[in-house]
């Protein structure tokens, strides 16, 4: 391969150039705003915008979204998305739990093809990623974007239409998978014919956001907005390129597969979670984020580094060495944006620990933000060749995936739901104590889940690396840890049911919270 050394040097060069370009970009933006606060965009933060008559000039950084009618414009679509999201959460959790039980009791559900492990697990993944996290995340986006832009949501009907198309397509997709019609790639199982409908649904979500952004009355875009606006552009591009039929084959398809699958996490779910946490942490506490410059580093470094980590799923596989090394380097570089986000979010919480006691939503969101830091550090370390060789084909990876997609993204979204729903519906949750139960069930359940798979996965990996141990050892030693996983998963599912119970009960209660603002926190 004559191409390799040249390619390697080009790669190094492009890495250096992209780092320099990124630094220059951040330096230019930060400098403009930090050192010249009287410039246009900096001053705009202090502009009260349309809410000027509501928030007096003596109180900058205050704006009553409820009174200005902004929340009213978005509450309909947001509640649609939350309702459907929680439905898929329950549906997906039950499938996940069933798939886990199938590994404990393999003959339990072997009667029909629809219930075989390979399909139950796949239905679980697609339900929770595209049904739950994506829709709950979109709900947070549609709630937050109009608020930070001080303008009502535009094209709200389109969001509802999109929700309808998205869920119908998802039902079709999940039914297809259960009956054996699949594209056969991890994270891309839904047949491409059905993906067309999903792409149309996605377009119905993107258009209202762009319309709302164009109509904004504030000059400055708050950090949550960067994450959301970039994510809603990234996801459709990823989704469409990855699903073009007939374009990808063989090992090239494998690199595309992991470029897509990790970018769904990195450039879709992560921005949803980070953006939501960036909004609600200061909002609930009532104190600003630590540093604007640091948040710039966090965002742009995430975009540059996260987009290139995917091939660490193919370490030791039949793909070019340079490509694997590139993804490993970028995985390690992920320390930079994660540290930046950690400083911004954790410092704000750490200075206001009292708020954790006062606000249940904040407790969920803070736990999620903490999990983001831990999951990302773990992910970077896991990409190192020496660590990866042990953990690569094991349950450790499943534990890590759930630390990211569940303990981080889902916990943040739980918090967001508990924060948004009373304000969007004007009702209190009828069973505030269940919120506490929900928190502790998912935290304890997740801890059992995570430590079972992490410890079991390492032992499994060590057994497989040891030629003197038969393969059967790696299976038999894992069994108690898989049982632990089912226990943890069961507790988590129970927590989700409590959320659903609260939401359903809320739907049947009368309106009790009309424009009242004194009780901020959903449960105290």
């Amino acid at each position: 391969m004559q191409i390799t050394p040249t390619l390697g040097l080009l790669l190094t060069l492009s890495f250096v150039v992209s780092l320099l370009a990124l630094s220059a970009l951040i330096w230019a933006i930060a400098n403009k705003q930090v050192h010249a606060p009287d410039q246009d965009d900096a001053r705009s933060i202090f502009q009260p915008g349309e809410g000027a008559e509501i928030a007096p000039p003596t109180q900058p950084h205050h704006f009553d979204t409820e009174r200005s009618g902004i929340d009213k414009s978005s509450s309909g679509p947001v509640m649609w998305l939350i309702g459907m999201g929680v439905f898929w959460l329950i549906y997906g959790s039950i499938h996940g739990l069933a798939a886990s039980l199938e590994l404990n009791l393999p003959d339990l559900m072997s009667g029909s093809a629809q219930m075989t492990f390979g399909r139950m697990r796949t239905v679980h993944l697609n339900s929770v990623i595209f049904g739950w996290s994506s829709q709950a995340g979109l709900a947070a986006i549609f709630w937050i974007i109009p608020r930070i832009f001080h303008t009502p949501l535009r094209l709200g009907w389109m969001v509802k239409l999109g929700t309808l198309i998205w869920n119908l397509a998802l039902v079709a997709g999940v039914a297809a998978i259960a009956n054996g019609w699949t594209d056969g790639l991890e994270w891309l199982e839904i047949p491409w014919q059905i993906d067309i409908a999903l792409a149309i649904g996605a377009a119905c979500f993107v258009a209202p956001l762009i319309a709302t952004t164009r109509a904004r009355t504030v000059h400055h875009i708050y950090v949550s907005g960067w994450y959301f606006l970039a994510a809603v552009l990234w996801f459709p591009v990823l989704f469409v390129i990855a699903n073009i039929p007939g374009l990808h084959w063989g090992v090239e398809q494998a690199t595309m597969n992991w470029w897509f699958a990790h970018n769904v996490l990195g450039l879709w779910l992560t921005p949803l979670g980070v953006g939501t946490a960036y909004y609600f942490i200061p909002k609930i506490i009532g104190k600003p984020i630590y540093s604007y410059a640091v948040s710039l580093v966090g965002f742009w470094a995430l975009a540059l580094f996260y987009s290139q980590v995917g091939i660490h799923h193919l370490i030791g596989g039949p793909v070019p060495t340079w490509l694997v090394t590139l993804s490993i380097v970028h995985s390690i570089m992920m320390f930079v944006p994660v540290i930046a986000v950690a400083i911004n979010q954790h410092v704000t919480v750490a200075r206001n620990m009292w708020a954790l006691k006062a606000s249940m939503p904040l407790r969920f969101i803070w736990f999620g933000a903490l999990s983001y830091t831990i999951a990302s550090f773990q992910g970077s370390i896991e990409a190192l060749r020496s660590v990866n060789t042990i953990t690569h084909f094991t349950q450790y990876t499943i534990g890590h995936a759930h630390l990211g997609a569940y303990a981080f993204v889902s916990l943040v979204l739980f918090g967001a739901i508990y924060q948004i729903v009373p304000r969007a519906t004007g009702k209190y949750f009828p069973f505030p104590r269940l919120i506490g139960w929900h928190f502790w069930l998912v935290v304890v359940g997740f801890a059992i889940y995570f430590f079972s798979l992490t410890i079991g996965g390492v032992l499994q990996g060590l057994a497989m690396m040891d030629a003197t141990r038969p393969f059967a050892d790696s299976v038999t030693l894992l069994k108690p840890y898989l049982e632990g996983r089912s226990l943890g998963g069961g507790l988590m599912t129970l927590g989700h049911i409590l959320l659903a119970v609260n939401l359903i009960a809320l739907a049947f209660t009368k309106r009790t919270r009309d424009l009242e603002t004194e009780t901020m926190v959903a449960a105290q």
Partner: protein
């Protein structure tokens, strides 16, 4: 702000807008980012250099593997000195350094009447297919087995050996070209070894008188039943051949059975059945076999001669493997494999199975299982100690070396007696 929040002065009011304070980036963030960036550049540069090296090395290895995989493919001109060296490496361990043979055991190749009648072409035929059964050379009787070397030697190498034996050892003016050997290879594909002198008589005109073949008689009903068991299985067990191959040559971790001592095979089947040797699939099979079936299957495979189905596949160091097989490694307290398993790894008795032409993955895996204790049915625990002493590289080296050897031929004389009482009671199945 018409409503006043009177509950907790620290609780924010709904109208608070999140914003970011205009603080500078903390210095440690710079340090970490710069350190990581330097590490990243170093790692990428290292890969681009090392990648070139590894590709070169693998290309060389690929060529080597390719030449091992298809010996017939090499077409280099035969070298006059090469024949002698190849003879020393491949033939002299049995036939003697000068082809003098061993009285009553191994026929001579020096001034031999059979060779003089057949010439270089007949030698190529015998090397290619092997030979077994009664044979008369220079008026002396022999009844041994010679394995096929088709998997071990290329056409060029066989031609060089044949030329060397015909011209140098027998003073003939007879040679054979690699192309002719290639034709012989094609023609003798899937053929059994020559059936002793009787078989050779059909090949060589003017051969001295030869004894009659022992294989002429029609197979007995028991033999037919065993062959059917081996190739078809029964109503509830799989056939032997479906994994071990039609010729018992094995594949990957499924071992070669052809030519292993019946006593060894029967002991392993018993061990699988009792659980003293662990294999899920073999336990399933062995538990369903009757005593008679075990004995007959052991005899069936013990008498079977078939070409090697193995070739080095684990990227082992063949020189290191040869060293371990022939002389062991005293620094590790590992004796030579062949001190127990017989010259050229042909096997000795019930306890020391033949290793020559065994599947490399099987040998390496079994050595690892001895080391880890998952296999523990050797007499005196000899193999456990050896397994533990060998490193991963050693296991692969010796496995690949053994795979490069010609297989031991089947031997019907080591057959176990089938007890007539058992036969009556267990033949129901």
């Amino acid at each position: 702000m018409s409503k006043k929040n009177k509950q907790d002065p620290r609780l924010p009011d709904e109208t608070f807008e999140p914003y970011e304070e205009p603080r500078l980036i903390p210095l440690p963030v710079y340090w970490i980012a710069i350190a990581l960036a330097i590490w990243g550049v170093v790692t990428l540069v290292q890969t681009s250099n090392a990648g070139h090296f590894a590709d070169k090395e693998r290309a060389a290895l690929g060529e080597k593997t390719a030449s091992v995989a298809s010996p017939a493919a090499s077409t280099a001109a035969p070298d006059t000195g090469a024949g002698k060296a190849l003879f020393a490496d491949n033939c002299s361990s049995c036939h003697g350094d000068a082809g003098e043979g061993v009285a009553d055991a191994i026929p001579p190749l020096h001034a031999s009447d059979v060779i003089k009648a057949g010439g270089a072409s007949a030698i190529s035929q015998i090397v290619m297919r092997g030979i077994g059964g009664p044979l008369i050379v220079d008026k002396a009787n022999y009844d041994g087995e010679m394995p096929s070397f088709s998997s071990v030697l290329s056409d060029t190498e066989i031609a060089a050996i044949a030329d060397y034996v015909a011209t140098d050892l027998n003073g003939m003016n007879s040679t054979v070209s690699p192309d002719q050997v290639a034709e012989i290879r094609t023609a003798s594909e899937d053929m059994d070894p020559w059936d002793g002198g009787a078989g050779l008589a059909s090949l060589i005109n003017g051969l001295p008188p030869q004894p009659a073949s022992e294989n002429a008689s029609a197979p007995s009903p028991e033999a037919t039943a065993t062959a059917s068991l081996a190739s078809q299985g029964t109503a509830n067990i799989w056939s032997c051949a479906s994994c071990h191959g039609d010729k018992g040559e094995g594949t990957q971790t499924v071992p070669r059975l052809a030519g292993l001592a019946p006593a060894y095979l029967a002991k392993q089947l018993h061990d699988f059945s009792k659980g003293t040797r662990i294999s899920d699939s073999m336990a399933y099979v062995a538990k369903s076999l009757s005593e008679t079936q075990i004995t007959e299957l052991a005899n069936y495979y013990g008498a079977m001669s078939s070409p090697s189905g193995a070739q080095p596949a684990l990227k082992g160091d063949l020189a290191r493997g040869e060293q371990l097989a022939l002389s062991g490694d005293y620094s590790k307290n590992v004796p030579a494999c062949f001190t127990c398993h017989g010259t050229s790894g042909i096997g000795v008795g019930a306890q020391f199975p033949g290793l020559a032409a065994q599947q490399p993955a099987y040998i390496a895996h079994q050595l690892a299982m001895w080391a880890g204790g998952a296999r523990h049915n050797s007499p005196l625990g000899l193999m456990a100690g050896i397994g533990k002493a060998l490193s991963d590289e050693d296991r692969r080296a010796v496995a690949d070396y053994l795979a490069s050897l010609p297989p031991a031929a089947g031997n019907a004389k080591t057959a176990l007696a089938v007890s007539p009482t058992l036969k009556e009671t267990t033949n129901v199945q």
